[in-house]
C-alpha cells in the first residue's frame, strides 16, 4: 500500500507535466489545474507515505526491467525516514510554488510550458529522493539539470537569462562528469548500484576505493549544491522567474547534492580525506558567500548567496559526520528559503525593482505589501538563527555536531567510525559556522532594514525622490490602501511561515525527529546555543548600528548628495566591499583562466579549419573545375567541328601506321 502510494508520488507530477505540455495550446483552461493538482496530490500522498512508513522503519522494493549485462540496474525504491521527510518538503514547497506561479506568471504567454517544467522538476527531485539505485538517481539528477536550464532561461529574450541558463547547465555538468565516474567506482567496489548495498559495503569496510569515489562524487555535489569552486552559477541563476528561484533554492536541485551526501554518508565516513575536502569546501563557501551576501545590492542575489552559505552549513555538518543535523537544516532551510524567495517576488512585484538601494528610498513599501513584510521578517529571523525560529534549532544542531567533532567524539549516529573525523576539522567548521552566523545575522538585518525602512529625507515630504521614473509612476499612480497582491500569492507565504516558525520546535522534543533519522539528538546543546545566539544578536546589532550611522549620514548630506543610500554594508565591510560585491572575482578569475583560453583555442581551431583545411578542400574542388572548363570548350555542339577532329585523327593515325611500317 505504502509502496503504491510512493510510486505515485513522483509519477503524478511527471504525468501532470506531460498533460500540461499536451494541453498547453489546445485547452488553456486546463493548464492551471494540471499544474497545481498533481503536485498537491503528490504532497498529500507524500504525507500519507510518511505516516504509513512510520519512524524508524524502512522499505525497499526493486524490480529489474531488463538485464543490461554487467552490474544489474534496478528500478528500486528505498524509503526511509530521510527520504519520506524530504519528499514531504519537496512536494509542499513545489505546491506553494505552483500556486504562487499561477498568479505571479498570470500574464506570461509561456506559462503552460513553465508549469509543466516545474512539475517535471518536482518529479525528478522526487525520483532522486525515493530512488534506491544510483543510476536511477542519476536520471533524476540529470533531468533536474535540464529543467533548471530551461527554467532559468525562461525569459530567454533577455541576454542575462540566456547566459545564466547556459552557465547553470555547464557548471553543473562540469561536476556531473566526475560524479558519474564516482558512481562507477562505488558500484564496482560494492558490486551493485543499489544504495543499500553500497551503504552496507561501506559499513563493513568493503570499499577499497572509498576516498576516490567520495571525492569524485563531491565534484557533482559541489556543482549541484553550489559549493565553493562551482558555486558561481547560483547567483546568476537569479535571472529566472522568482518562483523558480524558490523551487531551486529550497527544495530541489541544490538540496539534491546535500541529500546525496547524506544518503552515502557511510561512504564519506570511510575516508578522512573526503571529509576534509568537504569540510574545507563548506567553510570557504559559507564565509565567502556570507561576505558576498552582505555586499549585494540585488535583493534576489542576497538571498542566492545566503542559500550558498546555508548549503555550506549543511556540507559542514556532513563533513563532521552528523547527517541528522544536515537534514534538519535542509528541511528548515527549505521552508524558510522558499518563504523568503516568494516574499522577494511579492516585494519586487510591488517595488518594480530588484535593487535594495532603490527600495531604501521608496516610501510605503511596508504598507503596500503587509503580508510579505511580516512573513519576510519571520523568514529572515529564521535565516539569522534567532532563538524561537526554525533556523536557530537546525543551525545549532550543526554547531553542536561540529563542537562534538572538535572534542573528538563526532556524532556519526553509528554510520561509521567517529575517529575518521579529525578534531581540527570540527574546530574549523565550528569557527567558520559561528563567523557565518554573525555575518548571516548582519546581512539578514541589512536586507530587512533596506527593503522596508526607508530613510525619510526632509525634502521628501514635499517632492518624493523616486529612484526610477517607472517606480515613481507606479508609486504615484496606484497606491491602494490594502494589499495589492492576489490571494494566490499571499496564501503560500503564510503556509510556509508556519514551518518557518514552528518546525524548529521539533528539535526541542528529543525523540521526534531523531526517530525518523539516525537517532542523533537534535536538541540545542547548552555549550553552543548561547554563543550562537549572542553572535547572531551581535551581527544584527552591528548591522543596525551601521544602518543608523549610514542613515544619519544620508540625512546630513541630503542637500549635497541626493543619490546616497543608507546602506550599512560599506561601514561593515570596509575595504572588502568592492571584492565582495563582485563575488570576490571568482567569475572574473574563471573567465580569465578557463573561458578566455578556451575561446582563444576555439578561435584558433576555427581559423585552422576555415583557412587551412578548407583551402585544401577548395583546391581539390577547384583544380578539376578548371580542367573541366578547359575540356568543355571542345564540346561546342558543332557537329562539323567534331567530324573535322575525327578526320584529322584518322589521317594522323594512318600516317603514323604508314610511317611505323
Amino acid at each position: 500500500m505504502t509502496l503504491t502510494l510512493a510510486i505515485l508520488v513522483p509519477l503524478l507530477p511527471f504525468l501532470g507535466a506531460l498533460a500540461g505540455l499536451a494541453a498547453g495550446r489546445r485547452a488553456p483552461g486546463l493548464v492551471r489545474p494540471l499544474a497545481v493538482l498533481p503536485t498537491l496530490a503528490a504532497a498529500v500522498l507524500a504525507v500519507l507515505v510518511m505516516v504509513g512508513l512510520g519512524p524508524g522503519h524502512h522499505l525497499d522494493a526493486a524490480t529489474q526491467l531488463t538485464p543490461t549485462g554487467g552490474l544489474p540496474i534496478t528500478l528500486s525504491f528505498h524509503l526511509d525516514g530521510i527520504a519520506v521527510l524530504l519528499a514531504v518538503l519537496v512536494t509542499v514547497v513545489a505546491t506553494c510554488v505552483q500556486v504562487y506561479s499561477t498568479s505571479y506568471l498570470r500574464e506570461d504567454p509561456r506559462y503552460p510550458s513553465y508549469a509543466a517544467l516545474v512539475s517535471l522538476f518536482t518529479a525528478a527531485m522526487l525520483l532522486v529522493v525515493y530512488s534506491g539505485d544510483l543510476i536511477v538517481l542519476l536520471v533524476g539528477w540529470e533531468v533536474m539539470g535540464v529543467c533548471s536550464y530551461f527554467l532559468v532561461g525562461h525569459h530567454w529574450e533577455r541576454p542575462d537569462a540566456r547566459s545564466a541558463s547556459i552557465k547553470a547547465f555547464l557548471v553543473t555538468k562540469l561536476g556531473d562528469v566526475p560524479f558519474l565516474f564516482g558512481i562507477f567506482v562505488l558500484a564496482s567496489d560494492a558490486g551493485t548500484f543499489r544504495i543499500d548495498g553500497v551503504v552496507a559495503a561501506a559499513q563493513t569496510g568493503q570499499l577499497p576505493h572509498a576516498t576516490l569515489a567520495a571525492i569524485l562524487l563531491l565534484c557533482g555535489v559541489a556543482g549541484k549544491s553550489a559549493q565553493f569552486p562551482l558555486h558561481t552559477w547560483l547567483p546568476d541563476a537569479m535571472a529566472g522567474p522568482t518562483p523558480v528561484s524558490a523551487l531551486i533554492h529550497a527544495a530541489t536541485m541544490v538540496a539534491a547534492g546535500v541529500y546525496l551526501v547524506a544518503r552515502l554518508e557511510p561512504v564519506f565516513l570511510r575516508s578522512t580525506a573526503a571529509l576534509v575536502v568537504l569540510g574545507i569546501m563548506a567553510v570557504i563557501t559559507m564565509i565567502g558567500s556570507a561576505l558576498c551576501a552582505l555586499a549585494q545590492d540585488d535583493l534576489k542575489r542576497v538571498l542566492a548567496y545566503s542559500t550558498v552559505g546555508q548549503l555550506g552549513y549543511m556540507a559542514g555538518a556532513l563533513a563532521v559526520g552528523d547527517r541528522d543535523a544536515a537534514l534538519f537544516h535542509l528541511i528548515t532551510h527549505g521552508a524558510f528559503k522558499a518563504l523568503l524567495f516568494l516574499c522577494a517576488g511579492v516585494v519586487i512585484h510591488a517595488a518594480h525593482t530588484n535593487s535594495l538601494t532603490a527600495m531604501s528610498r521608496m516610501d510605503g513599501l511596508r504598507r503596500r505589501v503587509p503580508d510579505a513584510y511580516a512573513t519576510m521578517g519571520l523568514g529572515l529571523a529564521a535565516l539569522a538563527g534567532l532563538p524561537p525560529f526554525s533556523g536557530f534549532f537546525s543551525k545549532d544542531a550543526i554547531l553542536t555536531a561540529a563542537e562534538h567533532a572538535a572534542n573528538g567524539e563526532a556524532l556519526t549516529g553509528g554510520l561509521g567510525p567517529a575517529g575518521n573525523v579529525p578534531c581540527w576539522l570540527g574546530w574549523t567548521v565550528l569557527i567558520g559556522g559561528l563567523l557565518t552566523a554573525l555575518l548571516t545575522a548582519a546581512y539578514a538585518t541589512r536586507l530587512w532594514l533596506l527593503a522596508f525602512f526607508p530613510v525619510r529625507r526632509p525634502e521628501q515630504a514635499a517632492a518624493p525622490v523616486a529612484p526610477t521614473a517607472a517606480a515613481a509612476a507606479a508609486l504615484v499612480s496606484d497606491e491602494p490602501a490594502g494589499p495589492v497582491e492576489p490571494p494566490a500569492m499571499r496564501a503560500p507565504l503564510w503556509l510556509l511561515a508556519v514551518p518557518t516558525l514552528a518546525l524548529g520546535l521539533v528539535g526541542l522534543w528529543p525523540k521526534a525527529l531523531p526517530a525518523w533519522l539516525d537517532g542523533v539528538s537534535l536538541t540545542p546543546s547548552p555549550v553552543t546555543w548561547p554563543i550562537a545566539t549572542a553572535v547572531a544578536l551581535l551581527g544584527a546589532g552591528l548591522a543596525w548600528l551601521a544602518w543608523r550611522r549610514a542613515a544619519a549620514r544620508v540625512l546630513a548630506e541630503a542637500e549635497t548628495d541626493v543619490g546616497a543610500a543608507a546602506d550599512p554594508a560599506p561601514l561593515l565591510l570596509g575595504p572588502l566591499l568592492a571584492p565582495a560585491r563582485v563575488g570576490f572575482g571568482v567569475d572574473v578569475f574563471y573567465d580569465r583562466v578557463f573561458v578566455r583560453p578556451f575561446l582563444a583555442a576555439a578561435r584558433l581551431v576555427s581559423f585552422l579549419d576555415r583557412e587551412v583545411v578548407e583551402t585544401y578542400v577548395k583546391g581539390a574542388a577547384g583544380t578539376p573545375g578548371l580542367l573541366g572548363r578547359a575540356v568543355r570548350r571542345a564540346q561546342n555542339g558543332n557537329t562539323q567541328g567534331y567530324l573535322s577532329a575525327l578526320a584529322a585523327g584518322v589521317v594522323l593515325l594512318a600516317v603514323i601506321v604508314a610511317v611505323a611500317q
Binding site: 572548363r629 568543355r632 570548350r633 561546342n636 555542339g637 558543332n638 562539323q640 567530324l643 573535322s644 578526320a647
Partner: protein, 118 residues
C-alpha cells in the same frame, strides 16, 4: 582497265564528300556529301571485286548491302532534318547546338535559335 582509274576516282569522290561534310552548313547538303563518300566506297568495292576476280563476288554483294543501308540512312537522316527544319525554321547545322555543353562561346548562337523558336 587498270585499277588505278577507279581507285583515283573513288579517292577523289571520297575527298569531295569529306569536304562537303566538313564545310557545308546545310544539313541536306551534308547528307548528300555522306552519300558521295559511301558511293566512293562502293566504287572501290566493285573495282577490287573485278580486279581480284572473286568467285563469290563478295565485293558486289557488299555494295548492294551498302546501297540498302545508305537508302535507309538517308531516309532517316532526311526525316530528322525535316523535323529540325519544322521545329526551328532552319536546317543550318551551326544553329542546332542547343544540346552542347553551354558555355560562353555558344551563347550568341543559343540566343539566335531561341529567338527563332519563340
Amino acid at each position: 582497265m587498270h585499277l588505278v582509274y577507279p581507285a583515283v576516282l573513288a579517292a577523289l569522290l571520297f575527298c569531295v564528300g569529306l569536304y562537303g561534310v566538313l564545310a557545308r552548313r546545310n544539313a541536306v547538303l551534308m547528307l548528300m556529301s555522306v552519300e558521295l563518300m559511301l558511293n566512293a566506297v562502293n566504287l572501290n568495292l566493285v573495282a577490287f571485286d573485278v580486279w581480284l576476280r572473286d568467285i563469290l563476288h563478295a565485293g558486289q554483294a557488299l555494295t548492294l548491302f551498302t546501297i540498302t543501308v545508305a537508302a535507309a540512312e538517308i531516309g532517316l537522316g532526311l526525316a530528322i532534318v525535316l523535323l529540325i527544319f519544322r521545329n526551328r525554321g532552319t536546317a543550318d547545322i551551326d544553329r542546332v547546338g542547343r544540346l552542347a555543353d553551354g558555355d560562353e562561346t555558344t551563347g550568341d548562337i543559343e540566343k539566335e535559335s531561341g529567338a527563332t523558336v519563340g
